[in-house]
């Protein structure tokens, strides 16, 4: 029979009693809970066990009969979700600079999978009463389920002052955003609080993050920054205009023409000048184009000057480089000359030394150098030795540590090996009992004789001879003899059998005058007969199929 899955009826529920109507059936019903749900089984209101993934078989005729015999018991089953879940709670606090800070804390919570039964501690006010179909609602005494909201309501008040106020109160409002250290602190404190409050009622806080709303300081800062940006843009525009005006004034030139006397013009007051302008005695002529042309000409002249200077400098450099190369060539020539002179002098010096016989001094010098080299070598060896001793000491310590670890690790297996030794020893004893055989015994046994016969033969061989080699020879002969005898006796048995088989027709045989006895004796004669191998001349028993010396086939 397939099992029906038992699951929570709403994704927002954390725990729920299975409705008793589920169990109502005349025939047996089977249910299964997945491993991510805990199933808490109650009998007469008492929790008797909790399971992670289980099969339930309920009702049925056979069980009903047992119920009649044993009396009745109230059974209830509660399912609890063990998967992590997420809840969000609003948080507010006051910063160090007395600004109201608001935000949303996101908490990752989970029922403790090791202690799912502790969830009962959260179910204050939860009743296991039946849903009333007539009233259409849960009775006021309680509900049959625990939701995520219930859990949040239970723990959220503890976070407000103890965590948020305490942490935020130490921070300036402007420093809160983007501060991961602060987030970590809040997470740690909330975990600690949750452990303190809900540790024994089966709730674990897995992670906490707070998303901050815009606080007053940040808002002001934001507005200030906005105004500043606008002001900056205006300043920039002003600057642009100023530069334009300056360019205009630089490029503007006015020619003044006057119909009046220059002396009069110079002596005229401002008002008189204004009057003259009005009377058109003085005229302003725009000379802007001419000024622009002049400016362009000036720029061109400047550019030409720059180019000329650059060319001149480049030329100068090239000249300097060329002269430098010439100097270098000359110097190299000098150097080679000097080297040649030195070599010549050296050769002369060596020749003179040889003449005077100072070579012994040179040898002494070489010996000294050799001694110095030896000393250096000894010193190097010594230091290498010291270094290796030091390394050995260090590795010795490590080895001892490793040895201790190995001893510790192998303690149990060593024990087992010790246990095995007794067993192995007993087997070894068995092995040794049979491990004292001679090659002849091995041959004899392999040749099909029993080990006991081989022992007897060995003793006979030993009795018949005193010299070791002869004993072996005798042994070989005896084994061979025994094997042949066995063959002969087998042949004899066959003959007897044949005689028995032909006994029924013995009369006929008798009439023919033949006797089985003659046949046997002739067989024995054949067995004792010898033949010679035509290939290698080896003497073989007449019954041999092949030559034991060269493998020649004796019979066709």
């Amino acid at each position: 029979m397939a099992s029906q899955p038992l699951v929570l009826t709403d994704p927002n529920l954390l725990a729920e009693f299975v409705r008793e109507t589920e169990f109502k059936a005349f025939f047996e019903k089977r249910f299964a809970t997945p491993p991510d749900l805990a199933a808490l089984l109650f009998r007469n209101g008492e929790l008797i066990n909790s399971f992670k993934g289980a099969h339930f078989s309920v009702g049925g005729l056979a069980n009903a009969i047992k119920g009649v015999v044993g009396g009745s018991t109230h059974i209830a089953l509660m399912l609890a979700d063990l998967k992590p879940f997420q809840v969000q709670i609003p948080v507010t606090a006051m910063s160090k600079d007395h600004v109201e800070i608001a935000g949303t804390a996101t908490l990752e919570l989970q029922l403790d999978p090791d202690k799912p039964s502790n969830i009962l501690g959260l179910m204050g006010g939860v009743s296991r009463q039946q849903f009333d179909p007539e009233m259409g609602d849960f009775p006021i005494t309680g509900r049959k389920a625990l939701s995520r909201i219930d859990v949040v309501d239970r723990i959220a008040p503890h976070f407000a002052d103890r965590v948020m106020e305490a942490v935020i109160g130490r921070m300036e409002a402007a420093d809160i955003r983007g501060e991961t250290g602060l987030q970590d602190k809040i997470q740690a404190d909330m975990m600690q609080e949750a452990e303190r409050i809900c540790g024994d009622i089966g709730i674990m806080v897995r992670a906490v993050s707070v998303q901050w709303a815009l606080n007053a300081v940040e808002r002001e800062e934001f507005e200030r920054a906005q105004v500043a940006r606008q002001q900056e843009a205006l300043d920039y525009q002003l600057e642009l205009l100023k530069r334009e005006v300056a360019r205009q004034s630089e490029a503007t030139e006015v020619k003044v023409t006057a119909n009046v006397d220059l002396a009069k013009l110079e002596n005229a007051s401002e008002d008189e000048l204004a009057h003259m302008v009005l009377e058109s005695e003085v005229n302003f002529l725009d000379a802007r184009e001419a000024a622009t042309r002049r400016q362009e000409m000036q720029a061109l002249a400047h550019e030409i000057e720059v180019l000329r200077t650059e060319r001149a400098a480049k030329m100068e450099n090239q000249l300097a480089e060329a002269s430098h190369l010439t100097d270098l060539t000359k110097e190299a020539g000098h150097l080679r000359e000097t080297e040649r002179n030195i070599e010549l002098l050296d050769a002369q010096h060596v020749a003179e030394m040889k003449k005077v016989g100072v070579l012994t001094d040179i040898e002494l010098h070489e010996r000294k150098e050799r001694i110095e080299l030896d000393l250096a070598r000894v010193a190097a060896e010594q230091s290498a030795k010291n270094l290796s001793t030091l390394m050995e000491l260090e590795s010795g310590v490590k080895d001892r540590d490793a040895e201790r670890d190995i001893k510790k690790g192998n303690a149990s297996s060593a024990n087992r090996i010790a246990e095995s030794k007794a067993d192995a020893d007993s087997r070894v004893a068995q092995l040794q009992a049979g491990a004292r055989m001679t090659p002849e015994q091995i041959l004899a046994i392999n040749a099909g004789l029993s080990a006991d016969v081989a022992d007897v033969l060995k003793e006979q061989a030993r009795a018949s001879s005193t010299v070791g080699d002869n004993a072996m020879e005798s042994m070989r002969e005896l084994i061979k003899g025994a094997a042949e005898e066995r063959e002969a006796s087998r042949a004899h048995e066959l003959n007897i059998l044949k005689a028995g088989m032909t006994g029924a027709t013995g009369v006929a045989h008798g009439a023919g005058g033949k006797s089985g006895r003659d046949d046997v004796s002739s067989d024995m004669d054949v067995a004792s007969a010898k033949v010679e191998c035509p290939e290698c001349g080896r003497v073989l028993p007449a019954k041999a199929n092949f030559c034991t010396g060269c493998g020649h086939k004796m019979r066709t």
Partner: protein
Amino acid sequence: MTAASSSVLPRRTQAVCCYTSAMDKDATYCGECGKPLIRCMAAEECGGLLDDQGLCTVCVAPQLMIAPGALTAAKVGSAIALPISIANRSAIERPLFVTRLWSREAAGAWREEHLGWERLDAGQARPVTVTASQLTRAGAHNIEILVAVSSRWRWREESYAFSADLRLTVEGDEEKSGPVVTIGGESAGHGNTIYISGQGDKREVLQATTEAIELELVRAEREERRLGLRGLSETLWIPKNTKMVWRGFPKEDTPPDGPILTPDGILAVGRTRSRRSGGPGDVRLLAETPDGGIDEHASRLISRRHFELYIECNRLILRVNGSGGVRINGEAYGTGKEIALRDGDRIEPLVKVDGALALTVRFQVEHGSVAEVTITRVPSLKKGG
């Protein structure tokens, strides 16, 4: 003899008639079935005949046992040390040398285990621990153990590899299926019996053996070649029953064409007369003058037992005995040197007289196994075959 002691008897690998014939120490063929009698190199001590794979079951009889208390089940991610013991079940006083030991999981790479000892006397058993490294997956794991053993006789050594399989159960970490809760009741939800099954299933994951378990050892000839214990290469080997063919020699100077069937399995090549001619040698080598006479001066440079030829570890070995040495493919080798001969090799017994006398080696190969080795004398003797 009791049943217990009969267990140490060597395994019979040839027909009974062959053993009967082999009791004649000069016999080289079975008088009954005509099969060549290939004896163990230590036949003098063990009297054994080799099986068709070149193994003497009298000398080489290793036994592998798992010690009692060894774990045969483990958890995923754990490592296991298996205490095992290796015994020498040889029925005679022949020591066995355990040279190397490897282990591996499934078809993984071989991992060499540390062996602190080598020699196993007859009847002796010595312990060694094989470690199965971290077992990362659940299920039945196969641990394979490979043992390299050697049998030694004077300077000669035959090496073999044997493998054994061991099954190890690794339990997964995953949760076991949940229990079944039976709630009995006259009416739904009101029962009197609650039966919870499956909760008593607290199996001990680490299972240990209570008695020593013998593991069957089988020859691992491919591993032998891969490890270089036997054969010339992974794809070429010379079995003991390889036919030796002699060309360019007078008939009486060589043994008959066929496997090497001397009692010690060695062919002595040198100046002395061959067994066929009543001498102590097997192959007679003499230098010849261009007109067909014996070059006494050059022949004196060849020792009576100049070199020996034998098959060891599925290789044709030349061991130099003569004081003059031997040149193989132009390279000179002194006394005591052992060289594995290969197809196309040229043996020159006269190191100092270039090109006077040479023997060429040719292999005829069938599926990697050399069926025939032809040794040709150059120059061929006029009266030779």
